[in-house]
Symmetry: C2
Subunit: 210 residues, 2 copies
């Protein structure tokens, strides 16, 4: 019989990691990710900064883990839409509406988290690349399904997925959304209406000629 000790050990480590992230996220939301020091997180947890560093080698590793948690929630929602039933065109439309809505909500309701995601994007954290890869893969699945169903003309799903991402950048890139709204180039209603028009054009370009 093998001892269960290593498993218990691992659970405890996982629990500690989770607690560190929960406290860090609460601090990020209340005072912002830039002003939160590892010492603040440690104090809140009643542990030493050295102990926090045993679980996360740097502040930046904590940032990444929190961004990862936030984005994997959105990616999970997108996967659920992608893998649903209904016409492929409708699923793609719903996915892009969802992506736009989530990034808009981040900007309006969770400004401090938005700042963190914007920083992650400009500093090119690995978690952002992983998120974008996961979204493109979900688009590609739906596109391949649409071709199989005869909805779309023959296409390379990976290429078309990248194009959907590129053509809708203005509605899904947190920094560009913020820029647009802060400079009042556009407002929420106008952005939503223009996204629908863009999706009409793109889906028209993808579909089988009637």
């Amino acid at each position: 019989m093998t001892s269960p000790a290593p498993i218990v050990q691992e659970d405890r480590a996982t629990a500690t990691r989770r607690r560190i992230l929960e406290v860090a996220e609460a601090l990020f939301r209340s005072i912002g990710y830039q002003k939160t020091a590892v010492a603040d997180i440690a104090r809140e947890l009643g542990m030493s900064p050295a102990n926090v560093y045993r679980f996360f080698p740097s502040k930046s590793a904590i940032n990444e883990a929190i961004a990862e948690r936030l984005l994997s929630g959105v990616a999970g929602e997108l996967d659920a839409v992608a893998d649903g039933r209904g016409p492929a065109a409708d699923r793609l439309r719903d996915m892009l509406r969802l992506l736009h809505a989530r990034h808009l909500a981040l900007f309006f309701r969770e400004k401090r988290m938005h700042d963190m995601v914007s920083a992650a994007m400009s500093e090119h954290w690995g978690v952002i690349a992983a998120f974008i890869g996961r979204i493109e893969a979900a688009f590609a699945r739906v596109l391949a399904d649409g071709v199989a169903r005869g909805e779309f003309a023959p296409l390379d799903p990976a290429v078309a997925a990248r194009q959907l991402k590129q053509a809708t950048f203005l509605w899904t890139h947190p920094v560009l959304i913020a820029d647009c709204l802060e400079k009042r180039v556009s407002d929420e209603g106008q952005m939503a209406a223009e996204l629908e028009e863009m999706l009409d054009l793109l889906l028209r370009g993808l579909r089988v000629d009637s």
Copy 2:
């Protein structure tokens, strides 16, 4: 008989404005627009800063005038393509290739001017809005012509022009081009190939069903 004096006066003022801009542009290109002070421009011209301010109320007015000169050159080239012969789809494609090429050249060959245009965009100078408006108007002319020729399905030229601009932002926005290249997300060849693919998709979405 009216005196010709005021006309001569105006010519002289125009010539002085032109000289100020020439000297300012040369300084912008050599030391950058941010480091160039109105005093530097005045010294180079052998005049007092107060005299420069008689022609341009602020450094920012000089910046705008130089950005305007630069961008109106590009807009003129675009108008020439827009008003040429040949299928509307080809002209739109050539316009977007040109816009991409000019902004790419700005980044690679005239980094200091690129910095100035980027600043103009982030500070939302009027000259940028005017440039974008002129480009959209040129797109709309070609789109209306394409509908009249039976190349494109019935569409609102202003809406479709805005969509062409929005969907190709990644290739025409100086700041996004720089971001893409500096982070090595993409390189020049890949960007050009992806622009062609995007234009295929968009023009397919615009054309009359066969």
